[in-house]
Structure formats: structure tokens, C-alpha cells
Symmetry: C2
Subunit: 503 residues, 2 copies
């Protein structure tokens, strides 16, 4: 292989990955439209469109010549610049994940995921776990088959091989350590916080109705303050809030409850955090793997940085409260910053992960992490899941679900085949606390700026230290370079103590 051929091979790979990027962008539009715009009768045609684009993308990525091109390109890798080298490495990683699973297994998994998810929707609505268990067992066996195939290809433990697909280079051994630390101090902290909150005056009710049009207007204003550019994105409504689209055209969604504005507003801030990350990715690499966001832990760290760290800070709520009061024509002490903070900071064990506060949330994740590891290891079957779930809830949170719908059937992840995803929620929360602490140190006055509704110091810092990195570094390298320390639990612990136990 001559050097010229090797250079040409890398060029051919870039062209191919540009095409994959455009296909991914088209898929993002189809997905967004399905969740926000599509009439229900469009489902059959949309499923065919999405399946076709997925298949074409898979064929494009796993075509035999890609293996040859990667081998050729490797020969001059050392002559490439830093970003191109990282790009080539990321191509290899994406390719390895796509080719590790035999294509017939890809097809079987795809069908079983769709089927199980549909059964789950009905089973959850009717609280009928027995109707879900067989499909979930079948899906689990296929996921284990996939995990084994990836494990063999990568020389990893099966669970680690799945994890790597959501959070590159993340290993369970590290999660075990971090989660053990959390489990060590969180239950005690939780008791302390609950005791303190029990001694304090309860939150005054903030009563609505809060018209949707006003909530939406407020959401857009807050998005603008956070730096969302409406020339490059939209806010719409969907059943579950999400961030979709592409960096140039970011589509975030929320949902509205006329009786409570707090959930929708925080969802908007959360999704804006995700969106700013995508929008801040390096523009010159936007069609290449190295220009993509760096996995779910870093992504979640950005949404939680804006929602939990900055968005629920006393500084920002102090700025926000009078504006909320004016926006909704509110009156009285219920609209004081102090009272609104009480609403945004209520802590206590609950059954449902997505409604949990930031103190108990990691305990919900630890439960799921342990159960899914056991399932992937073949030590826990679908039939035994409800009992293990309820026992874990009792141990970790002290509550027992009254039924499986509010127990082990509450999340879509497992019925849709996502194993290895859950830990990234809590790793993201740890990263968010660590990043926010570093940002405050690096940019004195950052919190005072939040108190004036000015997010620009925070946004500039994350653009430089996280967003602009793309996928050039591993998630842990991003955190180390931004915070001068490996991902740990200390910043999160300090954050919880400062927010919930001070004074």
C-alpha cells in the first residue's frame, strides 16, 4: 500500500461518513416529525421509511470495502493531524460496533425490540407484567447474544461491551466504584435533608391555571437567555420531552400541564442544555464521527448542568421568580424566590425515576444498573424481575411499588432493548456537578451573572471545554481536561450538601 493510496482511503472514508451523517440527519427529521407532527395514520409508512434508512445506513457502514479502507488508512494515520487521527479512530470504533453484531442478529433484534416495546405499552397500561415477561425474556436472550458477540470482538466483558455503545470507554468496574461511594453517603444525606425539610416551613402552593400559551412564551424567553438560537432550532410539544434534529437545526420539545408550570419550564432548560451541546460541536467536523457528541454521560452532563446546577440555583431562581410572577400575573408570598426554591428542591423517596429529585435519583439508577447487569450475566430472568425490583426499591429507597406499572415496567429502556444506558444518567449528574464547580472556579462572577439572567459565562466555558471537543477525546478525557480531575462523586456530594443542608 502506497502512501498515496492510504491518503485516498481516508478521503474515501470521509466521503462515506459524510453520507452516513446526512442519513442520520434525515433519520432525525423523521423521528422528530413522528413525535411532534405526524398524524397517527402515518405510522405504517413512517416505520417503513425509518427502517429503510436504518438498513441503508447499516449497509453503508458495514460494506466489505470499509474494512479494507480502514486498514489502508491506518498506514498513514501517523501523518495525520490530531483531529483527523481522532476521526479515523472514531470511524474504527463506530465500524467495530456495527460489524460486531452478525447481520441476521441485527434483524432479529430490531423486530424483537419493536414487538416487545409494543407489548410493554399495553402491559404497562393494564398493569399486566405476565403478558410482558415472555417477550422480554426473548429480547433479553438476543441482547445477551449481541453482548457476547461484541465482547468477543472487543475483548471486553459482555456488559462493558454494551456500555461502550452508549458511553465510549466506560467500564462497569469504574461504575461499581462510583456507585458504591454514592450508596455509601446518599442514604444518610437523604435522611438529613428530609429531616431538615420537615423542620422548615412547607412550600406555599403556587396555584394556576397557567395557560399553555404563556408557558410556551416563557419557555422561549428562557431558551433565548440560555443562548438557544431560533434561527437554528425550534420548540414544540411531544409526549416526552426530547432533543432531536441536527446541530444546525436543533428541535427540542416539552409538554405542558396547565396546573403546573414548573415541570415544563425545567424540561425546556434540560433540553436546551442538550441542544446547546449539539449546536456547539465543532462546525468544521460536523459531517464526521469526530464532530459528534461524546456519548450519553457527557450529553446528560450538559442537560443537568443547565437544569440542575444552574437552572435551580438560588442565583437564577432569584432572577426568574419576579419574571414568573409577572408572566402569570401571580400575587403574594408564594411567588417569592424562597418559596419557588422550595418547590424546585423538594426531596423524598418516590416510585418513579423521571419524577425523582436529584438526591434520590441516583438510587433509582443504582437499582436498574444492578438488575440489568444481573440480567446480562444470565443471573436474573424476566420472570424474577418484579420481585428483585421491589426488594431493591425497599432496600435503596424504603418504598415498595404497589404494582409493576409503577415498578419494573415504568421505563421504556429494557423493553426497547437498551441495556447499559441507565448508568449514564447518574454519571451525567456527577459530571455536571464537577463541571459546574470547575466553571465557577474558572469564571469568577459566573453565579452572579446567573443572578442577572446572564448565562453567557457558563455557555462560553462549556463551549470551550466540552462542546467544542466533539469526539476528539474520550468522555473521561473531556472531564479531566475540563475539571483537572477524573470523574468522581466528591463534587456531587458537595453540591447536594451545599444546596440542601447549608444553614
Amino acid at each position: 500500500m502506497t502512501e498515496r493510496n492510504s491518503t485516498a482511503a481516508y478521503g474515501a472514508l470521509k466521503t462515506r461518513f459524510s453520507r452516513l451523517s446526512a442519513l442520520g440527519g434525515a433519520q432525525a427529521v423523521l423521528h422528530w416529525d413522528r413525535a411532534t407532527m405526524m398524524p397517527e395514520g402515518g405510522a405504517r409508512a413512517r416505520a417503513e421509511q425509518q427502517a429503510t434508512l436504518s438498513l441503508i445506513a447499516h449497509e453503508t457502514l458495514t460494506a466489505p470495502e470499509v474494512t479494507d479502507l480502514l486498514a489502508s488508512a491506518d498506514e498513514t494515520a501517523s501523518t495525520l493531524g490530531e483531529w483527523d487521527r481522532a476521526n479515523l479512530a472514531e470511524m474504527r470504533r463506530v465500524h467495530a460496533h456495527a460489524t460486531a453484531t452478525p447481520s441476521d442478529l441485527v434483524t432479529r433484534l430490531s423486530h424483537q425490540k419493536s414487538a416487545t416495546e409494543m407489548i410493554w405499552r399495553k402491559a404497562r397500561a393494564t398493569n399486566d407484567y405476565a403478558s410482558l415477561a415472555p417477550a422480554l425474556d426473548t429480547l433479553l436472550s438476543l441482547v445477551r447474544e449481541q453482548a457476547a458477540a461484541k465482547a468477543a470482538a472487543f475483548g471486553l466483558d459482555p456488559y462493558d461491551a454494551l456500555l461502550d455503545g452508549y458511553d465510549p470507554n466506560r467500564r462497569a468496574a469504574e461504575i461499581d466504584k462510583l456507585f458504591a461511594e454514592l450508596e455509601g453517603f446518599l442514604p444518610g444525606l437523604l435522611s438529613e435533608v428530609m429531616e431538615k425539610q420537615a423542620r422548615e416551613p412547607g412550600a406555599l402552593a403556587v396555584t394556576g391555571p397557567f395557560p399553555i400559551a404563556l408557558q410556551e412564551k416563557l419557555g422561549r424567553e428562557v431558551m433565548g437567555i440560555l443562548g438557544f438560537d431560533f434561527a437554528h432550532g425550534r420548540l414544540d410539544v411531544s409526549h416526552h420531552p426530547f432533543t432531536g434534529g441536527v446541530p444546525d437545526d436543533s428541535r427540542i420539545t416539552t409538554r405542558y400541564d396547565e396546573g403546573d408550570f414548573t415541570e415544563s419550564l425545567m424540561a425546556v432548560i434540560h433540553e436546551t442544555g442538550h441542544s446547546l451541546y449539539e449546536r456547539g460541536l465543532p462546525d468544521e467536523w460536523r459531517t464526521q464521527p469526530v464532530g459528534r457528541s461524546r456519548g450519553m454521560t457527557i450529553h446528560e452532563s450538559q442537560s443537568l448542568l443547565f437544569e440542575m446546577q444552574a437552572g435551580r440555583s438560588a442565583h437564577f431562581i432569584g432572577w426568574l421568580a419576579p419574571r414568573l410572577k409577572a408572566a402569570f400575573g401571580g400575587e403574594g408570598a408564594a411567588w417569592s424566590p424562597e418559596n419557588l426554591l422550595r418547590h424546585y428542591r423538594k426531596v423524598g423517596p418516590s416510585l418513579i425515576r423521571v419524577q425523582a429529585d436529584e438526591v434520590t435519583y441516583p438510587l433509582h439508577v443504582i437499582l436498574r444498573y444492578r438488575l440489568e447487569r444481573a440480567m446480562i450475566a444470565g443471573e436474573l430472568s424476566a420472570a424474577d424481575l418484579p420481585a428483585a425490583w421491589n426488594e431493591g426499591m425497599k432496600t435503596l429507597l424504603g418504598v415498595t411499588p404497589p404494582d409493576d406499572a409503577s415498578g419494573c415496567m415504568q421505563d421504556i429502556h429494557w423493553p426497547s432493548g437498551s441495556f447499559g444506558y441507565f448508568p449514564t444518567y447518574t454519571l451525567g449528574a456527577l459530571a455536571a456537578a464537577q463541571l459546574f464547580a470547575a466553571a465557577k472556579t474558572a469564571r469568577p462572577g459566573l453565579e452572579e451573572a446567573l443572578g442577572q439572567g446572564d448565562f453567557s459565562p457558563l455557555v462560553q466555558w462549556v463551549r470551550e471545554n466540552v462542546h467544542g471537543r466533539g469526539s476528539r477525546l474520550t468522555p473521561d478525557e473531556i472531564i479531566v481536561s475540563a475539571t483537572s480531575a477524573p470523574l468522581g462523586t466528591a463534587a456531587f456530594r458537595r453540591h447536594i450538601e451545599a444546596r440542601y443542608l447549608s444553614r
Copy 2:
């Protein structure tokens, strides 16, 4: 080639065309989103997505093995059922159009179309034809190259070869005959109508404002009456009204003017006519070429059938008028059916095609048809177009454009490379008149039903006689089978005389 292999070849073709159908559906979503939802900053990424899907579709259709599969499948064509035989023929037609143009010419055309369209947007806005002429000449030479290539492949005249892409099996010789007939009687009819309208009282002004929310509500109600199923479609807003999406999920658009509700409402009825056609295509063939709509003449016949024939009939306006009055809180004689009909039936020469009434509209099309034939034949250059245009307007309509912006630069068709499309507007109008006459004969009481806001007799008739045919028949065969006569001008002439000269 054994029969089994031949059957397998046809099966492989069906699979491939299913994929093309799904790709086309995805493209339709991207196109609709771009026109209705996309923030302007998303344009670059969207262009890449659309170009990538177009390229993949082109590769899928023109891959060498398709030629082999078509040849193999032909061997058992005679053993196939009627629909499968028509499907195979249509595959061959679509494939022939795609492969007739050399791929480097496809690329050059694509770039020159985009460039010329962009120059046109600016040139029209600044009334600067000189800045458009060179690009238009370059584009014209590429289109002529394409026409020559298709002509050689199909054994057709170059203009016929282009025409065939918009209206299968249509030939210019037939259009010449029909348009000569129109030119024979329309100018005289036009004078008579204008004299009659000059003698009659003028239309009383229907004054607004007409709030957009009320116009939209009314539009949706009328769509529902026409049979539009909102479980399989949406109404939105775009700069120019259009019908997009797929048969299962039909996306129509309109635009609103708070000072005038009439244009938006008729646009909604027009687009609903297009949409009902797509929705009524044979469901069991929906992923195959034979299940597609049958070219632009038949498509336009469906929109004009609902807008011009049924939508502006005295029966329907008689039903609609009191509802318009109530919807907008109108008062007085201006809201009488008679007065609204005067608004919907004003006739007179004008400069702009899209604003023309149905009597003068064909004259606008005849002008364009003659000019584009001369351009494709190499007898008219871009430099000479304005003079030829103005002369033709004077001859056919008796008016002279004050500038090129309202003259030969008014339409997007030529700057975007569409030559051979214009005649289908008027062929569609002729077909609509002929189909409506046949429907009235076949379904006595159809007009009385319209007078009660009931479109179901009309919808049922076109479903059976047009929509359900898909592409099994040629456009002319559809018209003959539905009306027992070849496409002609007689029904259109009778329609104009009855509507504008009776009493």
C-alpha cells in the same frame, strides 16, 4: 433463464422498488418540513440530507443489476396478472427515464438547476433579467442535452421525451391540436364573458379583516366535508400552497391573507383535491410504481375538479355562503351566494398566471408551451425570451407586461429546469371538465349533494374511476375509461359557456 429465476427477478425488483418508495417518502417529509417547519439556519444540513437521499435513490434505481433483473422478469411477464404486468411496465418506464440521462449530466443538471434558481430569485426581485439570461442559457443547453439523450433512448422527439416525464405517453402533436382548438374559441368566449360581466352589477366588496385562526378553522371544516381524513394528514402554512407527504400521511399547505379569505380557501380545496387523489391510490400497491399517481395532468385534473368544477359551482357556493357569513360574522348583501359567486368568477386578462381566472388561464399556458418548445428546439435563446414573451402576451391576452418580473420571470419552472410541465395545467383543466361532466351523468343528484355540502357522490366516483387506477392505465386510458371519450376541449368549452354565459 428459467421461469423460477424470472419470477425471482420480478420479486427482487419489487423489493428494490419498495425501498425506492420508502426513500421517496422520506424525501417527502424532508421537503414538507423544509417548506413549513425548518428554521432558516437548517438549510445547509437539509440540502445535504436531500442530496444524499436523491443520490442513493438514483444509485438504487440505476444499478447495473436492475437492467438484468428487468430483462429476466420480462420472460415471464405474460404469466403475471394485469396489475403486476402494469407494474413491471412502469418499473421499466421509470428505469428508462433514470438511465437515459448520463450520470455526469445528471450531476451537472442538478448543480445548474440550483444555481439558476437562486439567480432567478434575486433577478425576479430586482427585475434584472440580464443577470438571469446567461445562467438560463447554460441550463437550457443542459436540458436540451438531456432531451436529446432521452429522445435517442426512447425514439421520440426531444420535447416529447421531456413531456413523457411529467405526463406519460403524452405527445406534443396531440397538445398542438387541443391548444389550437382552445385558441380558436377562447378569445371569442373571453370577449363575450367580459362584455356580459361589464353589463352586470359589480361585486359588492366583502371586507375583512378575516382573522387567520378563523380562516384556518373554516379551511379544516371544508377539508372535512371534502373527505380529508385528519388521521392521515395535516394542514399547515407555507409560502406557496402545495401537497406533500405520502398517501398514508398527506400534508397540504395554504397561506393566509387577513384581508382576503377567498384565495386561501380555494387553495385549501385545490390541495385537498390533490391529496384525495394520493389517499385514494390502491393501498395494496402503495410501495410499487403501479400504485403511484399517474402524472401531472391527471393530478391537476383532481385539484381542479374540486376547486374549479365543484368548489366554485353555484350549488356548493350556495351552501358555503351562509357558513362563510356566520364564520366571519359578516352582514349584508355582500355575503349572498350571488355576490360571492361574482367574486369567484371575475374574468379578464391579467399578467400573472397563478392569479388568472379559468377562462384566461389556458392562454397563459399556450404562450409558455410555444416558447418552451421553441427553446428546446433551439429556435429561441434566453436572450430573446423577453421580447417573444411580451409579443405573445399581446397577441394572446392583449396585455403587455410592464417589466420582466411580471413577464417572463414570473414562474419558477424554467429557472428550475422544468420544461414540458406547463401544458399539464391546461390539460388538467380540460380533463377536470370532462370528468366532472361524466361524474354528473353517472351520479344523478351529485350537484344537489354539493348544494348540501355533501361531496361523497363525487368522491366515490373519482375513487372508482381515477384514484383507484393508480398507474395501471395511461393518463389517456384513465380519461377514456372514466368518460368514454378521449381527452378533448368540448367539455371545457361547455363548462365555460354554461358558467359564464348562461342567462
